[in-house]
């Protein structure tokens, strides 16, 4: 069974649309994350979330919003998509914060 699964794997959409990416982890971890990896492979943390605290990277536009229905899920909703949002988005989880992250397979978002 996949530990961290995210859907869809590929997402192609038009500028201005709203889209969501789903993430689920079955590891029983208490913290989940969203990362953005651009074409140059830079991995940037977007959000860190556990059942107590949401930490937002201040550079993330407020068009991006994480939604967590329960501790096993952290979805990413994006409003008014822009060309610059094209990237690979990785969900990850960990048990505690000073330990390794387990990454999902990624969602490749292309905004046309």
């Amino acid at each position: 069974d996949t530990a961290v699964s995210q859907t869809p794997k590929y997402l192609v959409t038009q500028m201005g649309n709203d889209k969501s990416i789903k993430c689920e982890q079955n590891l029983g971890h208490d913290t989940m994350y969203w990362y953005k990896q651009d074409s140059k492979k830079f991995l940037k943390i977007m959000f860190s979330y556990n059942n107590k605290e949401l930490i937002i990277n201040e550079t993330v536009p407020n068009r991006f919003s994480p939604k967590s229905p329960d501790k096993a899920h952290l979805n990413l909703h994006i409003n008014s998509l822009e060309l610059g949002d094209s990237a690979v988005y990785f969900c990850a989880s960990s048990q505690g914060v000073r330990v390794e992250r387990y990454f999902g397979a990624g969602t490749r978002l292309s905004v046309l």
Binding site: T31, K40, K41, F42, L43, K44, I45, S48, I55, N57, F90, V97, R98, V99, E100, R101, Y102, F103, G104, A105, G106
Partner: protein, 111 residues
């Protein structure tokens, strides 16, 4: 915010040659992690270093954490084509839970 510099950005080696990537921070780190991302794949955790001067080995991979806990290195002995990928360091600061990733070193191995 915390910045982590990783060098080199790219490295081409002949199969059998050694490879090293370096990670440097301007601030003292609580820990450092290393990840490998195969082409088209996702980052996979390799190891975590916590103690000053720590050295850990995994087969042909040797990981070091500097005495001042501001730098780290990953050395691969006798590279193989299976080592191809991007290697990232990820630094944990002394406050908060954000792990800051370095820019990665992309390793290409010529058979």
């Amino acid at each position: 915010g915390q910045q982590v510099m990783q060098i080199p950005q790219y490295q081409h080696v002949q199969e059998g040659e050694d490879f090293t990537t370096y990670c440097n921070s301007s601030t003292t780190l609580s820990n450092i992690q290393w990840y490998k991302q195969r082409p088209g794949g996702h980052p996979v955790f390799l190891i975590q270093l916590v103690k000053s001067g720590e050295v850990k080995k995994q087969k042909r991979l040797t990981f070091q954490f500097g005495e001042a806990k501001k730098n780290s290195s990953l050395h691969i002995t006798a590279t193989q084509t299976t080592d191809v990928g991007t290697y990232f360091c990820a630094a944990g600061g002394n406050a908060g839970n954000m792990l800051t990733f370095g820019g990665g070193t992309r390793l290409m191995v010529k058979p």
